[in-house]
């Protein structure tokens, strides 16, 4: 493995973390959107809010991490992607702002119309943000971003079959992850009925995602032949792992083993992302720019590696501490049905 590949690999770990944690976060927002009317959906929304709480900022900083590593280590490729894809990226950034602001401020605002407005902003932006990010990935993976500033088509680079597939898959995967994760959260908070409700959602989402993924392979065969070749060639093992983990997750869900289901579903999703990377290797921008060609000078890569490892040595324990503190301490149990009544006073 070359130095550039190691640095890109670390970036990819950040991308996986964003896909899993940030993805589950987006997915929770999607279920918030589908939770039903103000009264009926109140308890589900409360569970979602409980689960995001103190970790939502940490979940989304992963994206910033990915961006800064890319722009420092692979400046030319970064500038090419971002300048060509500026429309979906601007829309995704707006979605993130709307989402973060709405989620943050919703709790502090008690009037019903404002709460509804913020709730709608949160839920809708949870849907559009992963879509646009997935569309960007689709555009890169189908070789629509050439090297050079704004060298690609600023419209067709993200409105095309592979981008639509990427966007739809991103939304589905987020919803699926969130439903699986929320099952365990609901049970921990003693709300077994909610756990059941999310279990059904997780199973439906798993089915839809699986079917869409398989159908998507056909789209790739005609629209992104290089990626198709990689996925069905070198990356076949990884894709098989994803399918196996996905099936295992379904079995765990049916048996109500939510902890194991969480791990299996995360593995299934991570394997999709890894599969994309393996299929595209050694190119960073299909079909011609390789990782080596895109990498910056050696001193910067070494400096980055030092910074990344030293930073991780501080970051990872802190992050584990946050999650443990949060998962361990749940003194307030989910408010039961009485909360729904008091919700009506808003």
């Amino acid at each position: 493995m070359t130095l550039a590949e190691v640095v890109l690999g670390i970036m990819f770990v950040g991308l996986l973390a964003y896909g899993l944690f940030g993805g589950a976060d987006f997915g929770a927002g999607i279920w918030d959107l589908l939770a039903g009317g103000t009264r009926r959906g109140a308890r589900q929304r409360e569970l979602i809010e409980h689960s995001l709480g103190p970790v939502w900022e940490a979940n989304h900083v992963w994206l910033i991490f990915v961006l800064v590593v890319l722009w420092t280590g692979f400046s030319g490729a970064f500038a090419s992607v971002v300048s060509t894809m500026y429309i979906p990226l601007t829309l995704a950034a707006f979605g993130m702002i709307a989402r973060g602001a709405a989620f943050a401020f919703r709790k502090s605002i008690t009037t019903l119309p404002m709460r509804r407005f913020l709730g709608a902003a949160f839920a809708l932006s949870s849907l559009i943000t992963p879509y646009f990010l997935g569309a960007v990935v689709g555009g890169v993976a189908s070789g629509r971003v050439p090297l050079g500033i704004a060298a690609g088509d600023v419209v067709t680079s993200w409105i095309n079959p592979t981008s639509v597939l990427g966007g739809v898959m991103a939304v589905l995967v987020c919803a699926y992850l969130a439903a699986v994760f929320l099952c365990a959260d609901a049970r921990r908070e003693g709300a077994d009925d909610l756990a059941d409700a999310f279990r059904i959602r997780a199973l439906v989402a798993a089915g839809v995602t699986g079917v869409a993924g398989l159908a998507g392979l056909l789209v790739l065969r005609s629209d992104a032949p290089l990626l198709w070749e990689g996925l069905t060639g070198r990356a076949l093992g990884v894709i098989a792992l994803s399918v196996a983990a996905g099936v295992a997750a379904v079995v765990f869900l049916i048996r109500q083993r939510y902890g194991s289901a969480r791990i299996a579903s995360a593995l299934a999703v991570a394997a999709i992302l890894v599969g994309w990377a393996v299929a595209q290797y050694p190119y960073i921008l299909l079909p011609e720019v390789t990782i080596e060609e895109a990498a910056v000078g050696r001193t910067t890569l070494v400096a980055m590696l030092v910074a990344l490892l030293a930073g991780a040595a501080i970051l990872v324990p802190a992050l584990i501490y946050l999650f443990r503190l949060f998962q361990r301490t749940q003194p307030d149990r989910m408010p039961s049905d009485t909360a729904v009544d008091s919700e009506a006073v808003y």
Partner: protein, 461 residues
């Protein structure tokens, strides 16, 4: 033909892209100040509250912790937009200099990540951890906030004084040394200036909230401490900031003489230059300005006959827009001096009488000091950014050559303006609510409120 349209797009995009960046950064910089300074003020107050077993202090600390949560959330989302915009608007900068310019942002990414984690722990851990553990959890937050500010401002200092690399014959970066690039001549004066500014903005802004309360007749412990603690911190920083201002002006004079000439509205290179306040610059001269004889020579060279370079020494297409820079600089210095006067009044009365000055005029001054400090912050930032124009990397890369030529990019400005309008209104609504009722939860908290919260909220309204 093709390249003609690309150039036309870039020219069309330049002004809106600069406005979009100015708006996003100008918004974000206020919230970063609170992210840097509010943790220290809050944990200090929490510590005093434990030490003196004073519920007013503990309550104050809790309110500030929640406000910190809201402000941090607003800063985080606006910062995410910025990291996109860096590439969306200025791919020419990232493409060519990303390996040097981008590196401090890698470190900043970590600093911000750690701060986000500990803001979560600190808010979630309120009343859930022992006081000692809880206050300790604030330490990484304070350090990473300062570290993050250092890295971002170091990147900006590099744009002012690019170092740590060589250019080959074609203008490509070779021999990049990203660590060395972080420590150019502008780095220390700029980072210290910014950190002090963050403490001043936060201190005066928080104090002004309680000054307004006291003007409305609330003179309880809550309001007195709420005014005194942040105001004292800000007042201590103010004279230091004025000294640092002198340091940074000298650094600019040495490394970016064109910027200094624009700050002073100076066209001719002369000795014994007067310090000019206000006025309008046109026809290669500053008109209607108030002159302090030999003032500028004294400030820059500490010698009344020192020679100061004027704009005439630079080609016309390498001069920054003078009026914006000169006026922004004057407003910053003027507001800084007014804040210094406020700090002196506080220090005098405290020294002689051990109390907050009783005059309503003092409270009125504190009430506007927050807005004044924020205005000074923005003016200082406009001075350094507009004063660097037409360069994005001083002397090497022009802003016009770094902007993205993507068609339609200029429309993004309107989108960002609309988004920030809504975001500002929401932030103000939430902070006002927080100031009115203390049981409002912060975004990172998970129902830390007692079970009868709902009935309480009804009672509040």
């Amino acid at each position: 033909m093709e390249s003609m349209t690309v150039l036309a797009d870039a020219a069309e995009n330049l002004h809106p892209a600069r406005m979009q960046m100015a708006l996003s950064l100008g918004w974000h910089i206020i919230f970063s100040c609170f992210g840097i300074a509010l943790p220290l003020i809050t944990v200090f107050t929490e510590w005093r509250g434990h030490k003196r077993a004073n519920p007013a202090l503990s309550g104050l600390a809790h309110t500030w912790a929640k406000a910190m949560g809201v402000l941090f959330a607003a800063g985080a989302v606006s910062g995410t937009l910025l990291s996109f915009e860096m590439g969306i608007l200025w791919p020419g900068l990232m493409d060519r200099f990303g390996e040097i310019y981008g590196f401090p942002f890698v470190l900043e990414g970590y600093a911000f990540f750690i701060e986000a984690i500990f803001v979560g722990i600190y808010l979630f851990g309120w009343n859930r951890m022992s006081p000692r553990a809880h206050m300790l959890s604030a330490v990484p937050m304070i350090i990473s906030g300062m570290a993050g500010a250092f890295f971002v401002v170091a990147a900006n200092a590099w744009m002012n004084n690019p170092t740590g690399f060589r250019l080959d014959a074609e203008g490509n970066v070779v021999d990049a040394r990203p660590w060395a690039a972080m420590f150019g001549p502008s780095t220390w004066p700029q980072t210290v200036h910014m950190m002090l500014a963050a403490y001043m903005v936060t201190g005066y802004a928080v104090a002004s909230v309680y000054a307004i309360g006291m003007l409305r007749g609330r003179r309880d412990h809550h309001h007195r401490f709420g005014l005194l603690i942040p105001l004292t911190l800000a007042a201590v920083m103010t004279p230091i900031q004025i000294g640092v201002g002198d340091w940074i002006a000298n650094t600019v004079a040495e490394n970016q003489p064109a910027k200094l000439a624009a700050m002073e509205g100076l066209y001719r290179t002369e000795s014994g230059v007067a310090l000019s306040l206000g006025g309008l610059y046109y026809d290669n001269d500053l008109h209607y300005a108030l002159q302090v004889p030999d003032g500028l020579s004294l400030l820059i060279h500490h010698d009344p006959s020192g020679v100061v370079e004027g704009l005439e020494d630079f080609p016309a297409d390498e001069r920054p827009p003078v009026n914006v820079v000169h006026l922004a600089y004057n407003v910053m210095v003027g507001l800084g001096s007014a804040l210094m006067l406020l700090a002196l009044v506080l220090a005098w009365v405290w020294w002689r009488r051990r109390r907050i000055p009783a005059s309503p005029w003092f409270l009125r001054a504190v009430a506007v000091s927050g807005v004044a400090a924020i205005a000074a912050l923005e003016c200082g930032w406009i001075t350094t950014e507009v004063g660097r124009q037409p360069w994005i990397v001083y002397g090497i890369l022009r802003t016009a050559d770094a902007v993205s030529p993507a068609p339609g990019l200029f429309l993004g400005f309107y989108g960002v303006a609309a988004v920030y309008l809504v975001l500002t209104v929401l932030t103000v609504i939430v902070l006002r609510r927080l100031a009115r009722s203390h049981d409002t939860p912060a975004p990172q908290e998970v129902d830390a409120t007692p079970p009868d919260r709902h009935s309480e909220e009804v009672a509040v309204r």
